[in-house]
């Protein structure tokens, strides 16, 4: 067997190929006579077979060879792609996925003889009963174009990104110094360099960012398989609105969506429903992404959830009597509830919602659920969008340095004279009233009563807000960095960015400040 050092490359390539095969089979289901699709499937299987042979996975090679023969027969018109053949292809895909998992985790193939045999039997059958007499064409491989894809780990991209950030910070420092020195010619070169570096940073981000539709295309297959196993009719509609997301975040989002979809198909939509429907909708609201998963299933029976919570001793009977609907809704994400078998009594939406909640929290996002009996259920995930390089105002408050992204601010008002705002609830500017936000109160520094010189006016989700700023206000370009654990529990801080001076600055989360 070839050296183990190639195993990682094999795994990453095969993972992508399996996903691609799943996508192509889904297209084939819609257009079973599309020669181009069959050709592409053949080419993909052939390539997977070659990789497996290189690694010495003999059983995998035999299975892929048997599938390749069937696809070849379909291409040459010896076999008609009907529902039975499609199901065989999907079943083989499942077996390939299981086999892949086994190679990945246990370093060995699973037993594939049974599946190879059934593929071969289908192939022999096709030889006997030629579907249509089509003109014999040359073998597929001869006419196929070749493409090459590179796999780069996000670790390597992060490392390049970090070096680029350092370079960008140095460039900002030099630019500021040259500005002070007043050398116009050199300043122009510096500005140009800064632009090139910013472009490089953006290009790097674009490598990390993937179109939602490129990754979400595997979800219809998942829904189709679960629905098929449970004998249900479920249609899935994905509204991605051509949005994109960082691949690392999207991978986590996919896991959350898979869990929600499994729940919706298994427990939300019933077998008697003729038109089960799930809609996944992505949208941008302010600087956050909203993801909703809506089904038209049986809905969640909230009183039954509450009873179960009491039964499982998650809440006491007395506490249960005082709980609001929102508090009851949150119970569904408790481990004791989500692991419970509540399926039939409560229209159950059970397994794994506690896992969903913990994954959502890992992303600094939040999730809520709305449900109406016999109408359906809606899960909404609100996800922060990672900012990269952005302009911001930076100001100090006591011994803290905060940043407020410029795209949030409508106007920065300089007060005629320094003013205390300890008791004020609102701020009026040009006859408009703004709700005053006190960072001192929010961060537990109420005992201080500084005199403010500026007020930043903002309008966020139809709320007019004013944030008083003491002094030392400046505008600068910041680079967002990975949030340290120490800030993860602080809902008012969106993350940490780096200033041109290489100093960490705490970026305020306007959404939560309101």
């Amino acid at each position: 067997m070839i050296s183990e050092k190639y195993k990682d490359l094999y795994l990453s390539t095969t993972r992508q190929q399996l996903k691609k095969l799943s996508d192509l089979l889904l297209y084939l289901e819609k257009k079973p006579n599309n020669q181009n699709l069959i050709e592409n499937i053949f080419r993909l299987i052939h390539s997977m077979k070659g990789a497996a042979a290189t690694m010495g996975y003999k059983k995998t090679v035999k299975l892929l060879h048997a599938m390749e023969s069937l696809v070849d027969a379909a291409y040459n018109g010896d076999l008609q792609v009907n529902k039975k053949i499609l199901n065989t292809f999907f079943d083989t895909l499942n077996i390939l996925k299981n086999n892949f998992t086994s190679i990945d985790s246990k370093n060995k193939e699973i037993t594939l003889d049974k599946y190879i045999k059934s593929l071969k039997a289908l192939f022999s059958q096709s030889k006997k009963t030629k579907a249509k007499a089509r003109p014999k064409e040359k073998h597929i491989l001869g006419s196929l174009p070749s493409t090459a894809e590179l796999n780069v780990s996000t670790d390597k991209l992060d490392s390049i990104g970090n070096s680029l950030d350092d370079l960008l910070i140095n460039a900002m420092k030099i630019k500021n110094r040259i500005k002070e020195l007043g050398d116009v010619e050199l300043l122009k070169t510096c500005v140009d360099n800064g632009k090139i570096l910013s472009d490089l940073r953006r290009h790097l981000e674009q490598i990390r960012v993937v179109k939602l539709k490129d990754v979400l295309s595997s979800l219809p297959y998942l829904v189709r398989e679960i629905a098929r196993e449970e004998g249900k009719q479920v249609e899935i509609i994905i509204k991605d609105h051509d949005l994109s997301l960082d691949k690392a975040i999207l991978d986590e989002v996919i896991e959350i969506l898979i869990q929600l979809l499994k729940n919706a198909v298994s427990h939300g939509i019933s077998t008697t429903q003729k038109k089960g429907k799930i809609i996944i909708d992505f949208s941008l609201v302010g600087d956050r992404m909203n993801i909703s998963v809506v089904d038209n299933g049986a809905g969640i029976d909230w009183p039954a959830i509450l009873d179960l919570a009491v039964k499982n001793k998650i809440v006491t009977r007395n506490k249960a009597k005082l709980m609001t609907l929102e508090e009851i809704k949150n119970l569904i994400f408790s481990a004791g509830i989500s692991k419970g078998k509540i399926l039939n009594t409560t229209s159950g939406r059970g397994m794994g919602l506690s896992l969903v909640k913990s994954k959502v929290e890992e992303l600094d996002a939040y999730i809520k659920v709305d449900s109406v009996i016999k109408k359906g259920t809606k899960f909404t995930i609100n996800l922060p969008q990672p900012l990269s390089v952005f302009r911001s105002i930076i100001f100090n408050l006591m011994n803290h340095t905060f940043a407020l992204p410029l795209d949030h601010i409508d106007k920065l008002v300089a007060l005629e004279e320094p003013k205390s705002m300890a008791r004020a609830k609102t701020f009026t500017h040009q006859r408009k009233k703004y709700k005053l936000i006190s960072l001192l109160n929010i961060f537990g520094m109420e005992k201080f009563d500084p005199l403010y010189k500026y007020v930043a006016l903002m309008e966020y989700q139809k709320t007019k807000i004013a944030l008083p700023v003491v002094r030392k206000i400046k505008e600068d370009e910041l680079i967002m960095k990975k949030m340290p654990l120490v800030l993860k529990g602080n809902e008012y801080i969106k993350g940490v960015a780096i200033s041109a001076q290489g100093q960490p600055v705490l970026v305020l989360d306007i959404n939560n400040l309101i």
Binding site: N399, P484, V486, N490, Q503
Partner: protein, 140 residues
């Protein structure tokens, strides 16, 4: 019987020498300014930026209740990495790397019980990164 030796990076707080198990990314750096975090644990001094990473600075002197000799504005910290997050502990002076075949346990201590011995039999207590993090409330 041959035993596998463990490697440590040593440092001083006051006149006491300590050791941190060597892991990827260990280094001593100097800094003058750090960014304070509102509502954080008192043992967390703030954040600095170093080579593309945000480093959370921990006041290990406070945790150890050790007396510091460093009165300079320039502070020294030893950086270590846990689960892709970077931390720095404030030290007075960096030391050399050490190897030890034998680890001892001081049963009278509640935390940081393990130590190694120098050639002149002095005790050098080991600060395991996991033990350091267990002493602070990271999500305060």
């Amino acid at each position: 019987m041959a035993t596998k030796s463990q490697k440590f990076i040593s440092f001083y707080i006051g006149d006491q020498q300590y050791a941190l198990p060597i892991t990827y990314g260990n280094k001593f750096i100097e800094f003058t300014r750090l960014t304070a975090i509102p509502q954080s644990d008192k043992d967390i001094l703030g954040l600095i930026y170093q080579n593309g990473n945000i480093v959370t600075i921990i006041d290990i002197k406070r945790i150890l209740k050790a007396k510091s000799l460093n009165q300079n504005i320039r502070q020294i910290c030893l950086i270590f990495e846990v689960d892709d997050y970077h931390y720095g502990i404030l030290v007075d002076q960096g030391g050399e790397t050490m190897s030890a075949n034998r680890i001892f346990t001081d049963r009278q201590k509640k935390i940081f019980k393990k130590y190694i011995k120098t050639k002149d039999k002095a005790k050098v207590y080991i600060l395991e990164p996991a033990d350091i993090l267990s002493q602070i409330n990271i999500y305060d």
